[in-house]
Symmetry: C2
Subunit: 111 residues, 2 copies
Amino acid sequence: MTTTPTLPEMCAALGDQTRWDILTRLGQETMSASALARVLPVSRQAIVKHLDVLSEAGLVTAERRGREIVYAALGSRLNALAHELDRIGNAWDTRLRALKSLAEATDDGRR
Amino acid sequence: MTTTPTLPEMCAALGDQTRWDILTRLGQETMSASALARVLPVSRQAIVKHLDVLSEAGLVTAERRGREIVYAALGSRLNALAHELDRIGNAWDTRLRALKSLAEATDDGRR
DNA sequence: TTGAAGTGCAACACTGTGGTTGCAGTTCAA
DNA sequence: TTGAACTGCAACCACAGTGTTGCACTTCAA
């Protein structure tokens, strides 16, 4: 992950059930891909690909520990995303409220 | 949209650049699919499909107005999603902090 | 030092999704 | 009442994503 992930990229990473399954596990304890493959109903290779996506999105960290690679979920990144989405949601509502009151004012003028 | 959209569903809806382009426009002013197709570099049919996805995810509302259907972005839904993600992010960090301090305590014991 | 347990890489299949075009149907307004 | 501007539906294409399997390579521990 050289470049910072974009908003759509992060959302896309979170837009898959299997990846949520993985994240849910990693939010409870750090695990390797093989360990995840043991508890989830998909192959290790599928897990690895998902972990790549999550890592690219900055949602997990990978740490080599001897022969295994241990992954952990990054709550702070999710919090940052949440903050962004909240900001945008507020902006939408503000703009649309302004439009609505403008429309009502126009209505009044026509009456 | 009969059932409430799941978290992965909402995230998947937000995981596409074109849909963000649409949402950005709809966050500024309400527009019809045809109007969106005029300002975005994709066909009306593509827009319609995206609007279906966004509507299914509860991120936009549709209101028939005579011969057209006018869409609006729902900031409140985005805020709700943001709140959910924030909650989950906090839970991850809490659990992993607990694990880490436990590991350090074990380390101390071994020294 | 050998076997078990990891990771890494490649090839492949299947499906979903994002996109297109074309045409039919509806609705408004001149 | 006719044409312009919408929506609605269907067929189709191309590609990316999700998943699989198989095999080679590394690393730890008995």
